[in-house]
C-alpha cells in the first residue's frame, strides 16, 4: 500500500455519496397533456405543484410550442411525465382546484393572493374584478387585479375566466374573450341572462322572500322565482332597499361606486 492509500485517504473516498433519488425532479419540470374543458390541456408541473397551463388552441395544439413557451417563461428543463400530477384529473372533473398544489414561486405575493382568491370562485359562477380586490384586502387595486389575472400562469385550473367586469362585460382573458365565454358556457353560466340583465343596468339580483342580494350567477340568485326577483345596479341601492349581502357570493360594492 502506497503511503497515500492510508486509512485517512480511504476514509475520505468513502465519504462520497450518491445523490438521492428524485433530485432530478427538483431541477426539471414535467409536462403532460390531458383532456380539458376546451380540448387538450397542456400542463407543466414541478415538485412544488402545477406551474404552467395552456389550452391546446393557445399553442397550436403543439407540444413543441408549449415546451418552448414554458422554457422561455421559466428557464427550466421540461421532460415528459408518465402520469398527471396528483389531484389534476379530479380538479378538472370538478372544476375546482382548491386542493391542487401549485408552483407559483415566480409570482409576487399580491399575484399569489389574487390567484388564491380566484381559486375560491365555484364552477358556474362569476365575480367581478372588484370582488377579488376586496378579497385580497386591496379594494382599490382593481386594475392591478386585472393585470395579475392576465399573467395567471395556470389558467383554467385557477379559474380567472370566472372573473369579469363589474358592468357585466366578460372582459379580457389570457386566451382571448371568446375562449372565456366558451369556458363559462361549458360550466353552465347563463351568459345570455347575464348579458340581458347588464343591458338593463342590473348587476345584482335580490329576493324579497329571503331579503338577500347576490351576484346574478350565484346559486341563490338562480333560485329566485321571477315574481320575487328584484334587480339592482349597485349593492348599495340593494342595501338601502333593505337587502343584506348573500353569504355565499358575498357581493361587494363595485370599485369607484
Amino acid at each position: 500500500m502506497s503511503p497515500d492509500r492510508d486509512a485517512l485517504i480511504t476514509g475520505l473516498a468513502a465519504l462520497a455519496a450518491d445523490a438521492p433519488e428524485g433530485l432530478l425532479d427538483r431541477v426539471v419540470a414535467r409536462w403532460i397533456s390531458v383532456a380539458g374543458p376546451m380540448g387538450p390541456l397542456y400542463v407543466a408541473f414541478t415538485d412544488h405543484g402545477v406551474a404552467y397551463v395552456r389550452i391546446g388552441q393557445a399553442v397550436g395544439d403543439s407540444a413543441e410550442a408549449f415546451a418552448a413557451s414554458f422554457r422561455e417563461r421559466f428557464a427550466r428543463p421540461l421532460l415528459t411525465a408518465d402520469r398527471p400530477p396528483a389531484g389534476l384529473l379530479p380538479a378538472l372533473r370538478a372544476g375546482r382546484a382548491t386542493d391542487l398544489r401549485f408552483d407559483l414561486r415566480g409570482l409576487t405575493a399580491f399575484e399569489q393572493a389574487v390567484l388564491g382568491a380566484a381559486l375560491t370562485i365555484p364552477k358556474g359562477e362569476m365575480r367581478p374584478y372588484s370582488w377579488i380586490a376586496h378579497q385580497v384586502g386591496r379594494p382599490r387595486a382593481v386594475r392591478a387585479v386585472g393585470s395579475a389575472l392576465g399573467r395567471n400562469p395556470v389558467p383554467v385550473l385557477v379559474p380567472c375566466h370566472r372573473v369579469v367586469r363589474s358592468d357585466g362585460e366578460t372582459g379580457d382573458y389570457v386566451f382571448g374573450p371568446n375562449a372565456k365565454r366558451h369556458l363559462l358556457d361549458t360550466e353552465g353560466v347563463n351568459l345570455s341572462l347575464v348579458d340581458e340583465l347588464a343591458r338593463r343596468g342590473v348587476h345584482y339580483l335580490a329576493s324579497d322572500t329571503t331579503g338577500v342580494v347576490c351576484y346574478p350567477t350565484c346559486p341563490n340568485a338562480r333560485r329566485i322565482t321571477p315574481a320575487h326577483r328584484h334587480g339592482f345596479r349597485t349593492v348599495e341601492q340593494a342595501a338601502r332597499a333593505g337587502y343584506r349581502p348573500c353569504l355565499h357570493c358575498r357581493p361587494v360594492p363595485a370599485a369607484g361606486a
Binding site: A7, L8, I9, T10, G11, L12, A13, A14, L15, A16, A17, D18, A19, P20, L23, L24, R26, V27, V28, R71, A75, R76, P77, L78, L79
Partner: protein, 189 residues
Amino acid sequence: MAALGDDLDAGFVQLFGAHRQVVFSTALRVCGRWADAEDLTAEAFLRAYRALCGYDRERIAALQPRAWLLTILLNVWRNSRRSAVRRPQVAPLQQAPDTADPRGSVELMAERRETGLELAGLLAQLPEDQRVAVVLRHVSGLSIAEIATVLSCPEGTVKSHISRGLRRLRRLCSTQALQAPSDVQEVPE
C-alpha cells in the same frame, strides 16, 4: 457534451446522470448537511441549465463539464452562506436537528469503526480553503489540474491546501482517537 448541443433537455438529463454523484458528494462534504446539499445540488444544476441555454455549440463542446459544474456548485454554496449570514434563519427550534447523513446507520457505523474516525465531522473543522481542496481531491476524486480550474488558483496553491488540510485532519484524528468515547472535542490550533 454533444447531446447538449442537439437537444438541450435530453442532454441535460444525461449531464445530470453523469455528474450528480460528484456534485452531490462535494456539496454534502463541503456544507456538511444533507438537506442543504440537496438544495445546493438542485440549484447548481438549474443554474447550469440556464447558462447552457445561452451558450452556442462551440462553447458547449469546449466545456469540461465536471469542473464547470463544481465551479457553479461552489459559487452557489458561497452565495447561500453569504445570504444566510445577512438574514440569519429564525425559528429553527421546532425543527428536528438536521442529520449530517441519513444513510443506513449500519453502513455508516461500519465505516466509522473501520477508520475509527468521524471524518465527516472532522472535515467541518478545516478552514474553508483546505476543506474544499481536500473534498475535491479525495472525496470527489478530481485531479490537481481540475481543482485548479474549479478554484481558479495555481496548482501549487491547490497542493498546499490539500497537504495542509490532510495534515490537520490527521492531527484532529489522533486528538479524537485519544478522547475516543468522549464527545468533547477541544482542538488546539
